[in-house]
């Protein structure tokens, strides 16, 4: 088993796209679930989708939740409050940017790292320089 990842976004397509991208890096070892858009697929967030996504990927190895914007974080926090005490202890909510964070977290999770380690690695995505010396001057 490995740490699972939940991707919360205001966009259904964005969440699914990030799951697709991150899954490519995870060699099939990691459970990922998308929780994007409202229940009817419009832009926004859904508490129900977040809870369902957590349920899909949960194991005692834990789950890292990544979110696109602050309001997605609010819904993620509400979801955590609804979990059993036991499950909540194996959940972490990431500050990382959602795309880069998901990708590095997926790699870390795929090598069997702990939830704390996966979360720490996701955090490093905040400082990533993805554009190198090719920056136009």
């Amino acid at each position: 088993m490995a740490v699972g990842l939940v991707i919360v976004s205001h966009s259904e397509r964005l969440a699914e796209g990030i799951v697709e991208l991150a899954a490519q890096m995870a060699s099939g070892q990691v459970k990922l679930a998308a929780a994007g858009g409202t229940d009817d697929g419009s832009l926004g967030t859904s508490l129900a989708k977040v809870l369902s996504a957590i349920d899909q990927v949960y194991s005692s190895d834990g789950v890292l939740i990544l979110v696109d914007l602050g309001s997605a974080g609010l819904v993620a926090e509400m979801a955590l409050e609804q979990l059993s005490d036991e499950r909540r202890e194996h959940m972490l909510l990431s500050e990382a940017p959602v795309v880069e964070g998901a990708v590095v977290a997926a790699v870390e999770a795929s090598i069997g790292s702990s939830l704390a380690q996966v979360a720490e690695t996701a955090r490093t995505a905040m400082d990533m320089n993805k554009i190198g010396s090719g920056q136009p001057s």
């Binding site: 229940d39 419009s42 832009l43 926004g44 508490l47 309001s71 609010l74 819904v75 509400m78």
Partner: protein, 208 residues
Amino acid sequence: MAADRAGVLAWLRRSAEVIRDQRELLTDLDRQIGDGDHGTNMDRGFTAVMNKLPEVADTDVGTILKTVGMTLVSTVGGASGPLYGTAFLRAGTALSGKQELTAQDTLIGMQAALDGVVARGHAERGEKTMVDAIAPALDALRASIERNDTLHETLRAAAQAAEDGATATIPMLAKKGRASYLGERSINHQDPGATSSALLIRAMLTGA
């Protein structure tokens, strides 16, 4: 709002009407300093609330308010979903089992709602949010109760304070939410969340 379960239902119905009537205004305010969906989101939320209410109309004030909260968080979609959702959930918990409400109960409910909004969103006064309407309304409610005003006078004082609070957000710099991404461009616009909060608080006067 007569101080009982029927009054709470009347308030919620009036709230849904007002939100629908002011939907364009709210969306417009949100277009200027947000993602332009506050009116649409709130209208969707309160329409869903109206559809849900018959199921819980015979219960108690606490259950009704908690149902409103859960419905809003499932349907409103933006940050307002979790924020208003938590407000109503906390108010409902504080007023569990109640069939009638004293002015003091209204205070307890509104305090619980504000505490919920602050716990969820971490906003303080002056950051250009719904807190800037609700906190002054709560102050006015408390002061009015201490003066032993009638319930109608108390609710009127709260509504006026909420409206003044919403207007007072105009010169503020947004520190929270989508508007905070705009920086100084958020100045000189009234906050949509404070505006919708003031509308809901004004609606409490229905039937009072």
